[in-house]
């Protein structure tokens, strides 16, 4: 037992500080992806509910692709695709170079693509939950289309889409683990290194799993507070 405590302790003997660094990278990757995913997802949801069929089709093709591809494959497509794309581009200019793409950035792009296509569905079903009368009410008060969106629809949209978005956030947090495969020193990779060096794989991957659980618990607690905040206008039943 003492062994175990030394192994996961901080300092030169233990692997605690390395693992904490991994946790920080995992969390920052998820947090950095979130705003891009949300904005992109919202725009795609707008396109999907538009009256213009060509715009709807374009948005549907996007979601079909990124919901159909395995996340790991999307990551590889982005990671190697961008690398090869830049190298070929440089070749055209006459520069021969080996480019290595930053795995954090590649992970962010890939995860944002996947997140946005799922988030667009969440936003779309939330849009469907807002009755037409809300728009008409806004216009009747003389609000412009933009103001109706910002002041009337968006606040309700946040409330309606929060449960689904919360789930997507938890999924995103778990999917960051995939980026360890292209070399990002996140939680899984750091515990993998610790496992290999100390020959205690069960301990370190177990610790990694528990840390993911704790992150999920913290997120759920935070999300339920945000949900309570978003429902502050509702009558208490």
């Amino acid at each position: 037992m003492n062994d175990v405590l030394t192994l996961i302790s901080f300092g030169p003997e233990g692997w605690g500080d390395e693992i904490v660094q991994g946790v920080l990278i995992t969390v920052s990757l998820a947090l950095a992806t979130l705003p891009f995913g949300l904005v992109l997802g919202f725009l795609i949801a707008l396109a999907k509910k538009s009256d213009e069929p060509s715009l709807r089709n374009a948005a549907n093709i996007y979601t079909t692709i990124f919901r159909g591809l395995p996340e790991l494959l999307t990551l590889f497509l982005v990671y190697y695709g961008v690398q090869i794309g830049i190298q070929e581009g440089l070749k055209l200019v006459g520069v021969e170079a080996y480019i290595e793409v930053n795995s954090f950035a590649a992970g962010m792009v890939a995860l944002a693509l996947v997140f946005s296509s799922y988030a667009s569905e969440a936003f779309l079903s939330a849009f469907r939950g807002i009755p037409q009368g809300q728009y008409e009410g806004g216009y009747a008060l003389g609000l412009s289309h933009r103001k109706t969106m910002g002041l009337v629809i968006l606040p309700q949209l946040v409330r309606l889409s929060l449960p689904a978005l919360g789930n997507l956030w938890l999924i995103l947090l778990k999917e960051t683990s995939l980026v360890s495969v292209v070399g990002l020193s996140d939680l899984v990779r750091q515990s993998g290194i610790a496992a290999r060096v100390t020959k205690e794989p069960f301990l370190f991957f177990g610790v990694a799993c528990l840390i993911y659980l704790v992150l999920a618990m913290i997120s759920s607690a935070g999300l339920s507070r945000v949900e309570a905040w978003s429902k502050r206008g509702e009558v208490r039943r």
Partner: protein
């Protein structure tokens, strides 16, 4: 279409031409981009169909596909069997039974599949003497077994939640009605509740199958040569990016076909609910 006006005999006026609004322009631009990209992809694939890469590796991809189907099929099958007792335990009134089932489901839904796979595949080595003693080491020594084991445990947790949600969704009156008819509980469950629950659960089950197909790509990281594994091997040997393009096309076709089949199936099974 409105026919000619009977009073005047004149044809109805044509519908007003749709204006070129900004959204319409944007939609057409984006669609054009997709069409160009799709056409280029098609051209790329067709022009590469006789390339040395395809000739060399297409059998590998086929073998990988078989492995993927095996992993997904086995895991889902074991998951279905495991999920029933877990779902029952989870909705049990006894805390002693419900709490472990809740912990199981929470653990497998709250941690990444990748970490679970590593935990089982590499972690089994920590208990090698123990497994050798009880004669199970041959099982955990093989990466394929470990992956199926991990995936089955994972999908069992998700499927248990689907099943539980669907059964709980059935109104109490159904249980009470069956009880009033004198049906015993097991008969009520299998003949009255389950058929209705499966209808509700059909869509989430379909999503779970698709998630499992996509998740099975993770197996490639622990030395399994499924579609993804063969893709990575082909890429590391040839440095030809079409390895990933073919894999993407293959996965998209599988998932899209399955999704369409599932839509048809759902429409068929719920046809008595349509008016």
């Amino acid at each position: 279409m409105i026919a000619a006006n009977p009073a005047t005999g004149r044809a109805a006026p044509p519908p007003p031409a749709r204006k070129w609004t900004n959204t319409r322009i944007l939609g057409h631009v984006l669609m054009t981009l997709w069409i160009v990209a799709g056409a280029y992809l098609l051209f790329y694939l067709v022009s590469n169909i006789q390339s040395p890469f395809v000739l060399k590796y297409w059998t590998k991809y086929a073998e990988g596909l078989v492995v993927t189907v095996e992993i997904v099929g086995l895991s889902l099958l074991i998951g279905v069997i495991l999920s029933v007792p877990i779902a029952f335990a989870r909705s049990s009134k006894l805390k002693v039974i419900a709490a472990p089932a809740y912990a199981y489901v929470y653990f497998f839904r709250g941690t990444p599949l990748l970490a679970q796979t590593f935990l089982i595949y590499y972690g089994a080595g920590s208990f090698r003497p123990f497994f050798e003693d009880i004669g199970l080491w041959w099982f955990f020594r093989d990466a394929f077994n470990c992956v199926v084991f991990a995936f089955a445990l994972n999908t069992a947790a998700y499927q248990a939640e689907i099943l539980r949600g669907a059964v709980q969704n059935i109104a109490r009156g159904q249980w009470e009605g069956a009880a009033a008819l004198g049906l015993p509980k097991p008969v009520t469950f299998f003949k009255v509740i389950l058929p209705q629950a499966l209808m509700v659960a059909l869509r989430p089950y379909g999503n779970e199958i698709i998630l499992m197909i996509k998740g099975s790509a993770i197996a490639s990281i622990v030395t399994i040569y499924d579609v993804m594994g063969e893709t990575r091997r082909a890429y590391s040997r040839s440095y030809d990016f079409q390895a990933y393009i073919w894999a993407a096309v293959l996965y998209l076709m599988i998932v899209e076909t399955l999704r369409r089949i599932w839509d048809k199936l759902e429409a068929r099974l719920t046809r008595h609910l349509k008016r």
